[in-house]
C-alpha cells in the first residue's frame, strides 16, 4: 500500500508542475493583450472643431499624456517588469483581453495628468473605475522605485554646470538651486485627528518642498508633512537641512570676491524661509535700499525658477492641483513623488511641455507668503557679499 501513496503523490506533483508551466507560459501570448490602445483611444477622443485638442496626432498624444511617444516608451520600459499582466492576476479590460503595459501606463498617466475622476478616465479607455484605481497605483508603486535615479542631488561635475548656468542667467555666483514649497490640498473627515493637517488658509493640505536647478529640474524633494507647519519647520525637518547643517551638502569650494569676501555654495529661497549661511533670502521690503534692490530683483528671478517648476508640476499633473477627496495620507506622498519624477523624466528626455500646460497663476494661489524672521549672522554676511559681488559685476559690465 505505501508504494501506491507515493504514486499518487508523484501524480499530484506532476499536475502541479503542469499547472505552473501553463501559468508561466500564458504571459508570453502577446496577441491576447490590448496593443492597439492608442488607435482606439484617439478614435474615441478625436478632436473636433469645438474642442481644444490639437489635430496633430503626436501633439494630441502629448496633450493627453504630457510626454512624447518616445518618452512614453521609456517610461513603459522602466515599469514593464512590474506591470506586465500575468494571469490570473493580470488586469483585463471589458473585452476580456489582458491590459498591455502601454495601456496601463497610459491610463495612469492620464489619471495623473488630467486629475479627472477614475470613472471618466476609465470611460475614455474602456475600462472600469476599479481598473483605473488599481492600474494607477501599481504604476505609482513601480515608478517610485524604478525612476529614483531621475531625482538625486547632482555630483560635483554636474553641480558646476548648474552653478555656471545660474551665474550666466542671473549673475548669481555659486548658486546651486532654488527652493520653494507648495500645498497639496485635500479634504479630510471632520475628526480631531485631521486638525493637524489644517493649514493657515483653513484647508487640509500636505506640503511639497522642492529644490530645483537652472532647468527647473527637481534636485531634492520632501513631502508628507502637514501643510499647517511653518515653512521654517518644514525645512528643519527635512534631510536636506540636516545635511547642509552638518556640512555634508552645499560644501563645495567658495568663491572669492575681488575685495576678498568669500561666497560659499548656497540656494535661494523666498521670504518665508529663514536666512541661513547656505540659504539666501531677499531683503525685506522695508529694508530695501537702492543698493540692494538690484539684488532683490536678481534674487527673485532666480528664486522664481522653483515657483515656476511647481507651477509646471501642478499644471502638468493636475491631480496635484485639484482638491483630493480624503486621500490615503500614506499614499499621497507617493503620488506627489511620482509626479516629480515624471516632471524630471520629461526634462531629462528633452521633451518640451505644451505652453498651455503650466498653471497661469501661482502654484499656491490663495496662500499668503509668511515672512520668516529668523536670520543667521553668517547668512547675512553671505548676502551682503552677494550684493557687493553684484555691484562689482554691474560696474565691470558698464562701458568705460
Amino acid at each position: 500500500m505505501p508504494p501506491l501513496k507515493k504514486i499518487k503523490k508523484s501524480k499530484r506533483d506532476s499536475k502541479k508542475l503542469k499547472k505552473r508551466r501553463s501559468v508561466s507560459v500564458a504571459p508570453t501570448d502577446c496577441k491576447a493583450s490590448d496593443s492597439d490602445w492608442w488607435d482606439s483611444f484617439w478614435l474615441k477622443n478625436s478632436p473636433t472643431i469645438e474642442s481644444p485638442l490639437p489635430f496633430d496626432e503626436a501633439e494630441g498624444f502629448k496633450y493627453f499624456f504630457r510626454v512624447s511617444k518616445k518618452t512614453f516608451d521609456y517610461i513603459c520600459s522602466l515599469v514593464r517588469e512590474d506591470l506586465i499582466s500575468r494571469p490570473p492576476s493580470g488586469l483585463i479590460n471589458i473585452e476580456g483581453r489582458l491590459l498591455s503595459v502601454e495601456k496601463q501606463v497610459a491610463i495612469a498617466l492620464r489619471r495623473l495628468a488630467s486629475g479627472e475622476s477614475q470613472v471618466s478616465v476609465g470611460a475614455s479607455f474602456g475600462v472600469g473605475q476599479s481598473t483605473v484605481s488599481q492600474v494607477t497605483w501599481r504604476f505609482i508603486e513601480a515608478l517610485e522605485e524604478r525612476a529614483k535615479h531621475h531625482l538625486n542631488w547632482p555630483d560635483p561635475i554636474r553641480m558646476e554646470e548648474i552653478k555656471s548656468k545660474f551665474k550666466a542667467s542671473f549673475g548669481l555666483p555659486n548658486c546651486c538651486g532654488a527652493i520653494d514649497a507648495t500645498h497639496i490640498v485635500m479634504t479630510l473627515p471632520a475628526v480631531e485627528t485631521s486638525d493637524d493637517w489644517c493649514d493657515q488658509e483653513k484647508n487640509y493640505s500636505m506640503f511639497l518642498q522642492g529644490i530645483v536647478d537652472s532647468e527647473m529640474r527637481f534636485l531634492d524633494i520632501v513631502t508628507g508633512w502637514p501643510g499647517g507647519m511653518p515653512i521654517s519647520r518644514l525645512l528643519k525637518f527635512s534631510g536636506f537641512y540636516k545635511l547642509c547643517d552638518s556640512g555634508h551638502r552645499l560644501n563645495g569650494n567658495a568663491i572669492t570676491n575681488s575685495d576678498g569676501a568669500e561666497i560659499r555654495e548656497y540656494i535661494v529661497g523666498g521670504v518665508n524661509y529663514p536666512l541661513l549661511p547656505w540659504l539666501i533670502t531677499p531683503y525685506e521690503r522695508g529694508d530695501v535700499l537702492n543698493e540692494v534692490s538690484d539684488f532683490n530683483r536678481t534674487h527673485e528671478a532666480a528664486r522664481s525658477l522653483a515657483a515656476n517648476a511647481l507651477s509646471q508640476l501642478k499644471g502638468s499633473w493636475r491631480i496635484l492641483n485639484k482638491v483630493m477627496w480624503r486621500p490615503d495620507k500614506q499614499k499621497l506622498p507617493s503620488i506627489i513623488l511620482v509626479c516629480c519624477l515624471l516632471h524630471n523624466i520629461i526634462i531629462d528626455n528633452g521633451d518640451y511641455l505644451r505652453p498651455d500646460v503650466a498653471l497661469s497663476g501661482h502654484h499656491d494661489s490663495g496662500y499668503s507668503e509668511q515672512c520668516c524672521k529668523q536670520v543667521d549672522p553668517l547668512g547675512r554676511i553671505t548676502r551682503e557679499n552677494l550684493v557687493k559681488n553684484l555691484q562689482l559685476s554691474n560696474q565691470n559690465a558698464l562701458p568705460s
Binding site: 508603486e141 535615479h149 483630493m324 494661489s365
Partner: protein, 310 residues
C-alpha cells in the same frame, strides 16, 4: 414565518384564519400600495402570499386603532429620535424615523476643518466645480508675521501630554530610505517629530544574491551594509547613512578627502546611488478614492477644483 406558497384549496380559509388571528377584517377591498404607503411600520406582506392576483391587504391604521400604550411608545420614540438627531446628523426628520424609514447614517454633507468653535459646513454640490484652478488673483504677497516657530529639540524626550499625535508618511529624497513613517506631535506652534518604530521599507525586498543586512532593532542607531555598487564607485559618489537616517553625500569626500566626521566614519553603509532598484511586490492594493466636487472651505470654494487620489 408566513407560508409563501398557499394552495388553491385552503388559500382563502387559511388567509381568513390568519386575518382573524391578527385582528384584521376579512374584506378584500384594500389596495396593496395604499397599505404599504400608510402603514410603513408594519411588515409589508409579500404579495405572493395570497392565492389571488389581487392580494387583499388591510390598512392597518384603520383597522387597528392605536392603543394608549402604543401612543406612549410613539411619543417616547419621537423624543429619542429628536435626541438622536441632535447628536448625529441623521439627514432626516424625526418624523421619518417614527415611520421607520431607514436612511443612510452617513452625512450627506460632511463637515470639514474644525479648527475653531465655528464649524463650517460644506457648501452644497452646486458650488463645486471640476474645472481646473483658475487663479482669480495673484498670490497674496502681503507678508505677515509668521507664527512663531518655537525652537525645540526635536529629539528630546519631554512630556508629550497636551500634544496631538499624528502619524505621517514622509518622502525625503535626502534620506537613505526615501519613505519613512514618523510620529508628529503638535501643541499649537510647537512641533516635535519622532521616528516611528519599525521603519517601513516600501518596495524594498530582500533578494537573493543581494546581501543586505536588516536593520538592527531595539531603537538603537541603525547600521547597514550593502554591497557597494560598481556604478557608485565609478561615479565617485560616496554616500553614507548618518545616524539620523540622512543620506550623506559629501562633496568633500568626492574630492578624495577623508576627514569625515565621526558619525560618518562609524557608519559602514555605502549606498549605491540610483542603481538599486529592487523588484516590486506584485501585490497591489486598490486605492480607489472617490472624487467629489466639494471645496474644502467656504473661502476657497470657488477657487480650488477637486480631484481624487489615484
Amino acid at each position: 414565518m408566513l407560508c409563501s406558497i398557499p394552495t388553491g384549496k385552503s388559500g382563502s380559509k387559511w388567509l381568513d384564519r390568519l386575518r382573524s388571528s391578527k385582528g384584521f377584517p376579512d374584506h378584500n377591498d384594500l389596495d396593496l400600495e395604499q397599505f404599504l404607503s400608510n402603514s410603513s411600520d408594519s411588515k409589508p406582506s409579500d404579495p405572493n402570499i395570497g392565492p389571488e392576483p389581487k392580494q387583499p391587504v388591510v390598512y392597518r391604521n384603520q383597522t387597528t386603532p392605536e392603543t394608549p400604550r402604543e401612543n406612549g411608545e410613539r411619543e417616547w420614540l419621537g423624543i429619542m429620535s429628536n435626541v438622536l438627531s441632535e447628536l448625529f446628523n441623521m439627514g432626516e426628520k424625526p418624523d421619518d424615523l417614527i415611520r421607520g424609514k431607514k436612511s443612510s447614517r452617513k452625512q450627506s454633507n460632511p463637515r470639514i476643518c474644525v479648527v475653531s468653535t465655528n464649524v463650517e459646513t460644506m457648501p452644497s454640490s452646486g458650488e463645486n466645480s471640476f474645472a481646473d484652478l483658475r487663479p482669480t488673483s495673484e498670490r497674496l504677497r502681503v507678508t505677515r508675521e509668521e507664527n512663531v516657530d518655537v525652537e525645540e529639540d526635536e529629539n528630546c524626550c519631554g512630556d508629550m501630554s497636551g500634544f496631538s499625535r499624528t502619524e505621517v508618511t514622509v518622502i525625503d529624497s535626502s534620506c537613505l530610505e526615501w519613505k519613512c513613517e514618523k510620529l508628529l506631535f503638535r501643541r499649537k506652534n510647537v512641533w516635535r517629530v519622532r521616528e516611528k518604530k519599525g521603519r517601513i521599507r516600501v518596495g524594498v525586498k530582500k533578494r537573493k544574491g543581494r546581501p543586505l543586512e536588516e536593520e538592527s532593532g531595539g531603537g538603537e542607531k541603525k547600521q547597514k551594509r550593502v554591497n557597494l555598487s560598481k556604478d557608485a564607485v565609478e561615479g565617485e559618489s560616496h554616500t553614507m547613512m548618518a545616524s539620523d537616517n540622512v543620506l550623506v553625500q559629501s562633496d568633500k569626500m568626492n574630492k578624495g578627502q577623508t576627514d569625515a566626521p565621526d558619525f560618518v566614519r562609524q557608519v559602514d553603509l555605502l549606498w549605491p546611488l540610483g542603481v538599486w532598484f529592487p523588484r516590486k511586490s506584485k501585490k497591489c492594493g486598490s486605492s480607489a478614492i472617490l472624487v467629489k466636487s466639494v471645496p474644502t472651505n467656504k473661502k476657497n470654494a470657488t477657487n480650488i477644483p477637486r480631484a481624487g487620489a489615484v
